[in-house]
């Protein structure tokens, strides 16, 4: 087991890893709540709060904000330890992740795009939103052959890992006015 002192030890024990691995193999996805240790998550959140956001809008594709992923977060997710951890859970050997830090506010969304092909690999999201509610929209809907297989709208500090293939598509549901000034913030990555 790789040295991952920044990950909740529950997921690092043999029993914990087995349970996660089995759940992933059974469902094709798994959600690990309280993934980072509280101290590490608090630090990551403070880095993300200081991010400079840039709005991006292609009306028939996506409307949201992106920011540069903080160096500290980048280092963790690009580490060989994290890749080995994912490999143990998923059986998927990856090279390097591509990651983006996204923010969806009221009026933001992304649409299904037939022109962007999914690929075989591992899709993951790390949640940084504070008290997000599914009734606001803003959740990630993951579909396979047109049917929703998982809806990502978890508590903060949750790592969601999903097996991706060419039949998979995803979108972020339009964020409606019930969100008020709240924002859904997450890191999305592909291994």
């Amino acid at each position: 087991m790789p040295e991952l002192d920044w990950v909740n030890s529950v997921y690092l024990s043999e029993a914990g890893l087995d349970a996660v691995h089995n759940a992933f193999q059974k469902h094709g996805y798994v959600q690990l709540q309280k993934f980072f240790t509280p101290e590490v998550f608090a630090k990551l959140q403070s880095f993300i709060r200081k991010s400079s956001w840039k709005q991006y809008c292609l009306p028939d594709v996506v409307k949201c904000s992106f920011a540069q992923c903080p160096k500290k977060v980048w280092k963790l997710l690009f580490s060989s330890e994290f890749r080995v951890f994912i490999e143990i859970i998923t059986g998927f050997k990856s090279k390097k992740p591509s990651i983006s830090l996204c923010r969806f506010s009221h009026g933001d969304y992304s649409l299904l795009n037939d022109k962007v092909a999914s690929k075989k690999g591992i899709l993951f999201e790390i949640e940084f939103s504070e008290s997000w509610n599914e009734s606001y929209g803003g959740f990630t809907s993951v579909l396979s052959k047109g049917a929703e297989i998982v809806r990502i709208c978890p508590p903060q500090n949750t790592l969601t890992i999903i097996q991706s293939d060419k039949k998979m598509q995803s979108f972020v549901k339009y964020v409606n006015h019930k969100a008020g000034t709240k924002k859904r913030v997450f890191i999305r990555g592909m291994l």
Binding site: P59, D60, Y109, S110, L111, K173, Y174, H177
Partner: protein, 190 residues
Amino acid sequence: MRLSLFHEFTHSHPFPHIVLNNFLVTKRANSLLTALKSQVLSRKSSDLFDFLQTSDLSASKNPVLKQFFKKLNSPEMFFWIKQTTGQSVRKASLAGFCYESGDYLLPHDDRLEGRKIAWILNLSKGFTSKDGGCLELFATKNKKPTLIMKKIPPTYNTLTLFKVSPTSFHQVSELRSNKKRYSLGGWFYA
């Protein structure tokens, strides 16, 4: 009158469209709203939209909707569409819609096989700009939508027609109040 409507339609920006206030006799509009409210409306939800919609009303047994569908598909209607839009059509579809708080329809161009002219008859009462629910038309660049150029509020008994094309990008802005936005709509087909 005919020349004026055709001229207005073809010269409208950002793409050919026309908005006709007080389209029907008020009593007829009122009957259609009552008929629409009597129909079963089911929630439709996807990446692109969230709203309530009836089934295809072409076979509706409701006498008001049945008569309206017949009028939509009459030679007189097709002739009027040709005079107003320049498009030859031979079939019209009919469905009912209701947007509630939080509902919306995101940018798209309506393009599907055979669709020539989109039509919407608004049957919503008492909407202001604060309520949302406007039909918003996009400018395009290289056939991709850019900015909203026109906002058409959901005024009662207003008929909107627009030409379906690679540049007919539009959306319905989110309903932000507890009012309900009712409409009938569909397309005229080649």
